[in-house]
Symmetry: C2
Subunit: 180 residues, 2 copies
Protein backbone atom coordinates (compact mmCIF):
# COMPACT_ATOMS: atom_id res chain seq x y z
CA UNK A 1 0.00 0.00 0.00
CA UNK A 2 2.95 2.24 0.67
CA UNK A 3 4.12 1.56 -2.81
CA UNK A 4 0.75 2.30 -4.27
CA UNK A 5 0.35 5.60 -2.42
CA UNK A 6 3.43 7.30 -3.82
CA UNK A 7 2.40 6.02 -7.20
CA UNK A 8 -1.04 7.56 -6.68
CA UNK A 9 0.35 10.91 -5.58
CA UNK A 10 2.45 11.47 -8.70
CA UNK A 11 -0.70 10.63 -10.60
CA UNK A 12 -2.56 13.23 -8.57
CA UNK A 13 0.14 15.80 -9.15
CA UNK A 14 -0.33 15.95 -12.93
CA UNK A 15 -3.99 17.22 -12.84
CA UNK A 16 -2.77 20.79 -13.43
CA UNK A 17 -0.76 19.26 -16.27
CA UNK A 18 -3.84 17.41 -17.40
CA UNK A 19 -5.63 20.76 -17.23
CA UNK A 20 -2.86 22.25 -19.26
CA UNK A 21 -3.19 19.30 -21.62
CA UNK A 22 -6.88 20.00 -21.69
CA UNK A 23 -6.01 23.44 -23.04
CA UNK A 24 -3.72 21.83 -25.56
CA UNK A 25 -6.55 19.53 -26.58
CA UNK A 26 -8.68 22.62 -27.29
CA UNK A 27 -5.82 23.95 -29.36
CA UNK A 28 -5.63 20.66 -31.20
CA UNK A 29 -9.37 20.93 -31.82
CA UNK A 30 -8.69 24.32 -33.51
CA UNK A 31 -6.71 22.40 -36.11
CA UNK A 32 -9.65 20.13 -36.85
CA UNK A 33 -11.61 23.04 -38.43
CA UNK A 34 -11.65 22.13 -42.11
CA UNK A 35 -10.31 24.90 -44.33
CA UNK A 36 -7.23 25.70 -42.25
CA UNK A 37 -3.76 25.08 -43.68
CA UNK A 38 -2.79 21.42 -43.64
CA UNK A 39 -6.37 20.08 -43.85
CA UNK A 40 -8.26 18.45 -46.74
CA UNK A 41 -10.75 21.35 -46.64
CA UNK A 42 -7.89 23.86 -46.84
CA UNK A 43 -6.44 22.02 -49.82
CA UNK A 44 -9.83 22.04 -51.57
CA UNK A 45 -10.17 25.81 -50.97
CA UNK A 46 -6.69 26.37 -52.43
CA UNK A 47 -7.52 24.29 -55.49
CA UNK A 48 -10.76 26.23 -56.05
CA UNK A 49 -8.92 29.56 -55.67
CA UNK A 50 -6.25 28.43 -58.11
CA UNK A 51 -8.72 26.98 -60.64
CA UNK A 52 -10.97 30.08 -60.71
CA UNK A 53 -7.98 32.44 -60.83
CA UNK A 54 -6.31 30.56 -63.69
CA UNK A 55 -9.57 30.36 -65.70
CA UNK A 56 -10.06 34.11 -65.18
CA UNK A 57 -6.46 34.76 -66.30
CA UNK A 58 -6.75 32.60 -69.41
CA UNK A 59 -10.17 33.95 -70.47
CA UNK A 60 -9.03 37.58 -70.07
CA UNK A 61 -5.65 36.98 -71.71
CA UNK A 62 -7.24 35.41 -74.80
CA UNK A 63 -9.09 38.64 -75.66
CA UNK A 64 -6.91 40.74 -77.92
CA UNK A 65 -8.09 44.13 -76.61
CA UNK A 66 -7.61 43.73 -72.87
CA UNK A 67 -4.29 45.70 -72.76
CA UNK A 68 -6.15 48.86 -73.83
CA UNK A 69 -8.00 48.97 -70.48
CA UNK A 70 -5.90 49.47 -67.35
CA UNK A 71 -8.39 47.65 -65.10
CA UNK A 72 -8.26 44.52 -67.26
CA UNK A 73 -4.43 44.51 -67.19
CA UNK A 74 -4.66 44.85 -63.40
CA UNK A 75 -7.12 41.93 -63.30
CA UNK A 76 -4.65 39.74 -65.21
CA UNK A 77 -1.86 40.71 -62.77
CA UNK A 78 -4.02 40.18 -59.68
CA UNK A 79 -5.42 36.76 -60.64
CA UNK A 80 -1.91 35.79 -61.78
CA UNK A 81 -0.60 36.58 -58.30
CA UNK A 82 -3.60 34.83 -56.71
CA UNK A 83 -3.02 31.68 -58.75
CA UNK A 84 0.70 31.57 -57.89
CA UNK A 85 -0.04 32.11 -54.18
CA UNK A 86 -2.85 29.52 -54.09
CA UNK A 87 -0.81 26.95 -56.02
CA UNK A 88 2.16 27.40 -53.64
CA UNK A 89 -0.04 26.93 -50.58
CA UNK A 90 -1.80 23.95 -52.20
CA UNK A 91 1.59 22.28 -52.71
CA UNK A 92 2.47 23.09 -49.08
CA UNK A 93 -0.87 21.60 -47.95
CA UNK A 94 -0.24 18.42 -49.96
CA UNK A 95 3.22 18.14 -48.41
CA UNK A 96 1.80 18.70 -44.90
CA UNK A 97 -0.94 16.10 -45.48
CA UNK A 98 1.51 13.50 -46.86
CA UNK A 99 4.14 14.04 -44.14
CA UNK A 100 1.45 14.40 -41.44
CA UNK A 101 2.56 17.82 -40.19
CA UNK A 102 0.06 20.42 -39.00
CA UNK A 103 1.22 23.90 -40.22
CA UNK A 104 -0.22 25.43 -37.03
CA UNK A 105 2.95 27.34 -36.10
CA UNK A 106 2.18 30.96 -35.07
CA UNK A 107 4.62 32.50 -37.56
CA UNK A 108 3.44 30.32 -40.41
CA UNK A 109 -0.21 31.16 -39.74
CA UNK A 110 0.67 34.90 -39.50
CA UNK A 111 2.42 34.70 -42.87
CA UNK A 112 -0.50 32.82 -44.45
CA UNK A 113 -2.98 35.28 -42.94
CA UNK A 114 -1.14 38.35 -44.28
CA UNK A 115 -0.60 36.73 -47.68
CA UNK A 116 -4.23 35.68 -47.94
CA UNK A 117 -5.40 39.13 -46.87
CA UNK A 118 -3.24 40.89 -49.47
CA UNK A 119 -3.91 38.55 -52.42
CA UNK A 120 -7.66 38.29 -51.77
CA UNK A 121 -7.98 42.08 -51.43
CA UNK A 122 -6.09 42.60 -54.71
CA UNK A 123 -8.24 39.98 -56.48
CA UNK A 124 -11.43 41.55 -55.12
CA UNK A 125 -10.32 45.05 -56.16
CA UNK A 126 -9.48 43.82 -59.67
CA UNK A 127 -12.79 41.97 -59.95
CA UNK A 128 -14.74 45.07 -58.84
CA UNK A 129 -12.88 47.36 -61.26
CA UNK A 130 -13.48 44.93 -64.14
CA UNK A 131 -17.11 44.53 -63.16
CA UNK A 132 -17.56 48.31 -63.19
CA UNK A 133 -16.12 48.56 -66.70
CA UNK A 134 -17.96 45.50 -68.00
CA UNK A 135 -21.28 46.95 -66.79
CA UNK A 136 -20.31 50.33 -68.32
CA UNK A 137 -19.57 48.74 -71.70
CA UNK A 138 -22.50 46.33 -71.68
CA UNK A 139 -25.38 48.14 -69.95
CA UNK A 140 -24.59 51.86 -69.86
CA UNK A 141 -23.00 52.33 -73.30
CA UNK A 142 -24.33 49.21 -75.10
CA UNK A 143 -21.05 48.58 -76.91
CA UNK A 144 -21.04 44.78 -76.64
CA UNK A 145 -21.09 44.41 -80.42
CA UNK A 146 -17.56 45.87 -80.70
CA UNK A 147 -16.20 44.34 -77.48
CA UNK A 148 -15.67 40.86 -75.99
CA UNK A 149 -18.34 41.33 -73.32
CA UNK A 150 -18.82 37.58 -72.76
CA UNK A 151 -15.12 37.03 -72.06
CA UNK A 152 -14.89 40.12 -69.82
CA UNK A 153 -17.93 38.95 -67.85
CA UNK A 154 -16.59 35.40 -67.51
CA UNK A 155 -13.16 36.59 -66.37
CA UNK A 156 -14.75 38.97 -63.85
CA UNK A 157 -17.09 36.29 -62.50
CA UNK A 158 -14.20 33.83 -62.13
CA UNK A 159 -12.13 36.46 -60.29
CA UNK A 160 -15.07 37.03 -57.90
CA UNK A 161 -15.35 33.26 -57.31
CA UNK A 162 -11.60 33.09 -56.67
CA UNK A 163 -11.95 35.88 -54.07
CA UNK A 164 -15.00 34.18 -52.59
CA UNK A 165 -13.03 30.96 -51.99
CA UNK A 166 -9.98 32.90 -50.73
CA UNK A 167 -12.08 34.66 -48.07
CA UNK A 168 -12.63 31.57 -45.83
CA UNK A 169 -8.89 30.84 -45.91
CA UNK A 170 -8.11 34.37 -44.72
CA UNK A 171 -10.85 34.50 -42.06
CA UNK A 172 -9.96 31.05 -40.66
CA UNK A 173 -6.26 31.93 -40.46
CA UNK A 174 -7.02 35.30 -38.85
CA UNK A 175 -9.44 33.62 -36.43
CA UNK A 176 -6.94 30.93 -35.38
CA UNK A 177 -4.27 33.62 -35.04
CA UNK A 178 -6.33 35.74 -32.65
CA UNK A 179 -7.81 32.86 -30.63
CA UNK A 180 -4.38 31.81 -29.35
Amino acid sequence: MNVSHPSVHPVEAPPPLVDDDGLRVTRLQMKVIQGMPGTIGGLLLRFCQFAYAIVSLVVMATTNDFPSVTAFCYLVAAVGLQSVWSLSLAILDIHALLVGRTLQNYRVVSLFSIGDGVTSTLTFAAACASAGITVLIGNDLGLCAQNHCKQFETATAMAFLSWFTALPSFLLNFWSLSSR
Copy 2:
Protein backbone atom coordinates in the same frame (compact mmCIF):
# COMPACT_ATOMS: atom_id res chain seq x y z
CA MET B 1 -3.39 32.93 16.35
CA ASN B 2 -6.24 30.51 15.85
CA VAL B 3 -8.34 33.37 14.63
CA SER B 4 -5.68 34.57 12.28
CA HIS B 5 -5.10 31.17 10.70
CA PRO B 6 -8.64 30.68 9.45
CA SER B 7 -8.52 34.20 8.15
CA VAL B 8 -5.30 33.40 6.31
CA HIS B 9 -6.69 30.25 4.74
CA PRO B 10 -9.68 31.89 3.12
CA VAL B 11 -7.18 34.38 1.75
CA GLU B 12 -5.16 31.49 0.36
CA ALA B 13 -8.23 29.86 -1.14
CA PRO B 14 -8.99 32.69 -3.60
CA PRO B 15 -5.76 32.36 -5.65
CA PRO B 16 -7.63 30.32 -8.29
CA LEU B 17 -10.22 33.11 -8.21
CA VAL B 18 -7.45 35.65 -8.41
CA ASP B 19 -6.15 33.64 -11.35
CA ASP B 20 -9.60 33.71 -12.84
CA ASP B 21 -9.68 37.43 -12.13
CA GLY B 22 -6.30 37.60 -13.76
CA LEU B 23 -7.95 36.23 -16.90
CA ARG B 24 -10.67 38.84 -16.50
CA VAL B 25 -8.03 41.50 -16.21
CA THR B 26 -6.62 40.34 -19.57
CA ARG B 27 -10.13 40.61 -20.96
CA LEU B 28 -10.44 44.10 -19.54
CA GLN B 29 -7.12 44.93 -21.17
CA MET B 30 -8.69 43.89 -24.51
CA LYS B 31 -11.13 46.78 -24.04
CA VAL B 32 -8.27 49.22 -23.61
CA ILE B 33 -7.19 48.79 -27.25
CA GLN B 34 -8.04 52.12 -28.82
CA GLY B 35 -10.28 51.81 -31.87
CA MET B 36 -12.73 49.33 -30.37
CA PRO B 37 -16.37 50.36 -29.80
CA GLY B 38 -16.80 52.61 -26.77
CA THR B 39 -13.29 54.10 -26.89
CA ILE B 40 -12.07 57.55 -27.97
CA GLY B 41 -10.06 55.90 -30.77
CA GLY B 42 -13.16 54.05 -31.95
CA LEU B 43 -15.13 57.29 -31.98
CA LEU B 44 -12.38 59.00 -34.00
CA LEU B 45 -12.38 56.13 -36.53
CA ARG B 46 -16.18 56.40 -36.88
CA PHE B 47 -15.96 60.16 -37.43
CA CYS B 48 -13.28 59.72 -40.11
CA GLN B 49 -15.36 57.03 -41.85
CA PHE B 50 -18.42 59.23 -41.74
CA ALA B 51 -16.60 62.38 -42.88
CA TYR B 52 -14.87 60.70 -45.86
CA ALA B 53 -18.06 58.87 -46.87
CA ILE B 54 -20.21 62.01 -46.73
CA VAL B 55 -17.61 64.05 -48.70
CA SER B 56 -17.50 61.28 -51.33
CA LEU B 57 -21.30 61.21 -51.49
CA VAL B 58 -21.62 64.99 -51.84
CA VAL B 59 -18.84 65.33 -54.45
CA MET B 60 -20.27 62.50 -56.59
CA ALA B 61 -23.87 63.68 -56.20
CA THR B 62 -23.01 67.22 -57.34
CA THR B 63 -21.89 65.99 -60.79
CA ASN B 64 -24.89 66.00 -63.11
CA ASP B 65 -23.84 62.96 -65.19
CA PHE B 66 -23.18 60.37 -62.48
CA PRO B 67 -26.58 58.58 -62.94
CA SER B 68 -25.52 57.54 -66.46
CA VAL B 69 -22.83 55.22 -65.04
CA THR B 70 -24.03 52.28 -62.91
CA ALA B 71 -20.79 52.13 -60.88
CA PHE B 72 -21.12 55.78 -59.83
CA CYS B 73 -24.74 55.22 -58.72
CA TYR B 74 -23.51 52.22 -56.75
CA LEU B 75 -20.79 54.38 -55.18
CA VAL B 76 -23.38 56.91 -54.03
CA ALA B 77 -25.49 54.11 -52.50
CA ALA B 78 -22.50 52.42 -50.83
CA VAL B 79 -21.00 55.56 -49.26
CA GLY B 80 -24.52 56.59 -48.25
CA LEU B 81 -24.91 53.31 -46.36
CA GLN B 82 -21.39 53.66 -44.93
CA SER B 83 -22.09 57.18 -43.66
CA VAL B 84 -25.39 56.13 -42.01
CA TRP B 85 -23.72 53.10 -40.38
CA SER B 86 -20.68 55.09 -39.16
CA LEU B 87 -22.83 57.95 -37.85
CA SER B 88 -25.06 55.52 -35.93
CA LEU B 89 -22.05 53.82 -34.32
CA ALA B 90 -20.45 57.19 -33.58
CA ILE B 91 -23.59 58.22 -31.70
CA LEU B 92 -23.53 54.87 -29.87
CA ASP B 93 -19.85 55.44 -29.00
CA ILE B 94 -20.58 58.94 -27.66
CA HIS B 95 -23.43 57.52 -25.56
CA ALA B 96 -21.18 54.74 -24.23
CA LEU B 97 -18.39 57.22 -23.41
CA LEU B 98 -20.77 59.62 -21.63
CA VAL B 99 -22.57 56.91 -19.66
CA GLY B 100 -19.32 55.02 -19.03
CA ARG B 101 -20.46 51.69 -20.52
CA THR B 102 -18.09 49.43 -22.42
CA LEU B 103 -20.00 47.92 -25.43
CA GLN B 104 -17.95 44.73 -25.04
CA ASN B 105 -20.94 42.39 -25.01
CA TYR B 106 -20.39 39.35 -27.30
CA ARG B 107 -23.60 39.87 -29.29
CA VAL B 108 -22.99 43.59 -29.71
CA VAL B 109 -19.43 43.00 -30.95
CA SER B 110 -20.69 40.25 -33.34
CA LEU B 111 -23.26 42.67 -34.75
CA PHE B 112 -20.68 45.45 -35.12
CA SER B 113 -18.24 43.03 -36.74
CA ILE B 114 -20.75 41.77 -39.33
CA GLY B 115 -21.99 45.31 -40.02
CA ASP B 116 -18.47 46.65 -40.41
CA GLY B 117 -17.52 43.74 -42.67
CA VAL B 118 -20.51 44.25 -44.95
CA THR B 119 -20.39 48.06 -45.18
CA SER B 120 -16.61 48.24 -45.63
CA THR B 121 -16.70 45.54 -48.34
CA LEU B 122 -19.48 47.40 -50.19
CA THR B 123 -17.58 50.72 -49.92
CA PHE B 124 -14.36 49.09 -51.13
CA ALA B 125 -16.15 47.41 -54.06
CA ALA B 126 -17.77 50.73 -55.05
CA ALA B 127 -14.45 52.58 -54.76
CA CYS B 128 -12.69 49.98 -56.94
CA ALA B 129 -15.41 50.03 -59.59
CA SER B 130 -15.34 53.85 -59.69
CA ALA B 131 -11.55 53.84 -59.83
CA GLY B 132 -11.62 51.44 -62.78
CA ILE B 133 -14.01 53.70 -64.69
CA THR B 134 -12.21 56.93 -63.70
CA VAL B 135 -8.91 55.50 -65.00
CA LEU B 136 -10.68 54.29 -68.15
CA ILE B 137 -12.13 57.77 -68.83
CA GLY B 138 -9.02 59.72 -67.82
CA ASN B 139 -6.05 57.61 -68.91
CA ASP B 140 -7.25 55.00 -71.41
CA LEU B 141 -9.76 57.05 -73.42
CA GLY B 142 -8.60 60.60 -72.53
CA LEU B 143 -12.16 61.93 -72.25
CA CYS B 144 -11.61 64.24 -69.28
CA ALA B 145 -12.58 67.30 -71.29
CA GLN B 146 -16.19 66.08 -71.59
CA ASN B 147 -16.39 64.53 -68.09
CA HIS B 148 -16.03 65.62 -64.48
CA CYS B 149 -12.80 63.67 -63.94
CA LYS B 150 -11.70 65.77 -60.94
CA GLN B 151 -14.96 65.13 -59.09
CA PHE B 152 -14.95 61.42 -59.96
CA GLU B 153 -11.35 61.10 -58.74
CA THR B 154 -12.08 63.00 -55.51
CA ALA B 155 -15.19 60.93 -54.76
CA THR B 156 -13.27 57.70 -55.44
CA ALA B 157 -10.33 58.75 -53.27
CA MET B 158 -12.67 59.71 -50.41
CA ALA B 159 -14.46 56.35 -50.68
CA PHE B 160 -11.07 54.58 -50.47
CA LEU B 161 -10.18 56.64 -47.37
CA SER B 162 -13.54 55.80 -45.81
CA TRP B 163 -12.85 52.08 -46.42
CA PHE B 164 -9.31 52.47 -45.08
CA THR B 165 -10.61 53.88 -41.79
CA ALA B 166 -13.41 51.27 -41.62
CA LEU B 167 -10.90 48.41 -41.90
CA PRO B 168 -9.35 48.84 -38.39
CA SER B 169 -12.84 48.90 -36.85
CA PHE B 170 -13.70 45.60 -38.54
CA LEU B 171 -10.37 43.90 -37.78
CA LEU B 172 -10.39 45.00 -34.12
CA ASN B 173 -13.97 43.79 -33.63
CA PHE B 174 -13.22 40.49 -35.38
CA TRP B 175 -10.05 40.08 -33.33
CA SER B 176 -11.79 40.77 -30.00
CA LEU B 177 -14.60 38.41 -31.05
CA SER B 178 -12.26 35.50 -31.74
CA SER B 179 -9.94 36.07 -28.77
CA ARG B 180 -12.74 35.45 -26.22
